[in-house]
Symmetry: none
Subunit: 233 residues, 2 copies
DNA sequence: TTAAATTTGTACGTATGTATG
DNA sequence: ACATACATACGTACAAATTTA
């Protein structure tokens, strides 16, 4: 996002971010208006819009404007499916390295996912997932504040054990959303990849047997090192 | 190819045709030379080259030239017979476009997955997965040879209906394996991505209610456009 | 090792055509 | 018919990476 990245790419990224709040069918401002807004030539805006169109996010029609065509498609894979990482089945030694555990006010999205009021304090944990000592994933999870949870998580014995120590005997996965994304610089560093290499993002919500949300987490797996298997129960 | 088609497209088509006699790694003439040859501005040539790059046929490197990455003959134009209308699908997929249906001896892996002797003839189907007319995935499936199956698949009425026409009333997913991989040139062309962009690979096995393998398929989804949701019942 | 030439990438500007509303 | 908006195509200039001398 600094001066060495092309103008058209900065504009494309800005517009992409803004599309998150848009709906399919919404019209973008005209190329001339966008050019005026960003203080660039119209062709520079066109280059940015071409990138968005190539990604399938927008669609331009001559005479009409540029419309938002599609947001990421939600693709249900099946109902009676159970989700587990392949490494559990292959007999490898799983492990994790907790990088940080903090208690902070949660972001709006995080609080909403945990069914808590906005700005509620949350326990945030970040770390790496290992297989035979090899880094295969990076996770970032938020939990509601439970007595002693942060300390238990920091011991690195795993989420299940930490929750059990806090009196939560069991929890189940409400849903998982999977998508393939390019690794950013931070992720590339954690997973020992190059920027842009494919990474699988798994966004998951876990809740207790009564349906109370317990954990909202985003995990990124190194695409080349991980296969997720979805199999019926 | 008349006067109403844009110059850049005419040039792109001309270059694509000429690539048939080229080999991967060959260098194209410089943009300046091509501009002189076609008698157009350099930007017009750039627009044409951008189209070729988008299709995964060439790759440009600043300072070096433009190189051929893949042969047009590897590109589906030669193999695809015709585009069929997208029809109703298996319930989860909004649309499908069947590109080709062939009966061929299966590869060892394919035969093994279908529990057939090596070298058995298989019905192979290839096509695109759509959502609102937008290409979101590319699939390649193999089936055991059933009477009339190839013809039914070729009609583009969907896998479910084709199997039903052959007496298979129902089938279920045995398992799905997911991993994130970079798009190769062929896939980039199909999914309208750039080479190397993240793609989610789903390898799936479907079988009939008695456990007999019916379909072994590999689908690649455009990472930016698809989210797979896994939810328990 | 250095310097120059080559080649693609970015950004600007201008003009005109064509479809839409 | 008219204004709006995207599409095409020309031009210039400079930056950045590579190749060549």
């Amino acid at each position: 996002m600094t001066a060495d990245t092309p103008l058209w790419r900065q504009i494309a990224e800005t517009l992409t971010a803004e599309l998150a709040n848009a709906s399919p069918g919404d019209r973008l401002p005209s190329e001339a208006r966008l050019a005026a807004r960003f203080g660039v030539n119209r062709h520079t805006v066109r280059r940015a819009l071409a990138a968005l169109a190539e990604a399938g996010l927008v669609h331009a029609r001559r005479g009409a404007g540029v419309q938002v065509t599609a947001l990421p498609t939600d693709y249900p894979i099946g109902r009676r499916t159970r989700f587990h990482a392949a490494l559990e089945a292959t007999g490898r030694v799983p492990g994790r390295r907790v990088l940080s555990v903090e208690t902070q006010p949660g972001l709006a999205e995080e609080c909403a996912m945990l069914a808590l009021p906005g700005g509620s304090p949350l326990v945030r944990a970040e770390g790496l997932t290992l297989s035979d000592g090899q880094v295969i994933g990076h996770f970032r999870s938020v939990f509601p504040v439970l007595p002693g949870l942060a300390a238990e998580l920091a011991r690195g014995e795993g989420v299940t054990r930490a929750l059990a120590a806090c009196g939560v005997s069991d929890y189940t996965r409400a849903w998982t959303r999977l998508t393939a994304v390019p690794a950013d610089a931070l992720l590339a560093g954690h997973l020992q990849l190059r920027r842009g290499e494919p990474v699988m993002r798994a966004v998951a919500l876990n809740h207790d047997p009564r349906g109370q949300p317990l954990e909202y987490g985003i995990t990124h797996f190194a695409g080349a090192r991980v296969t997720l298997t979805v199999a019926p129960d």
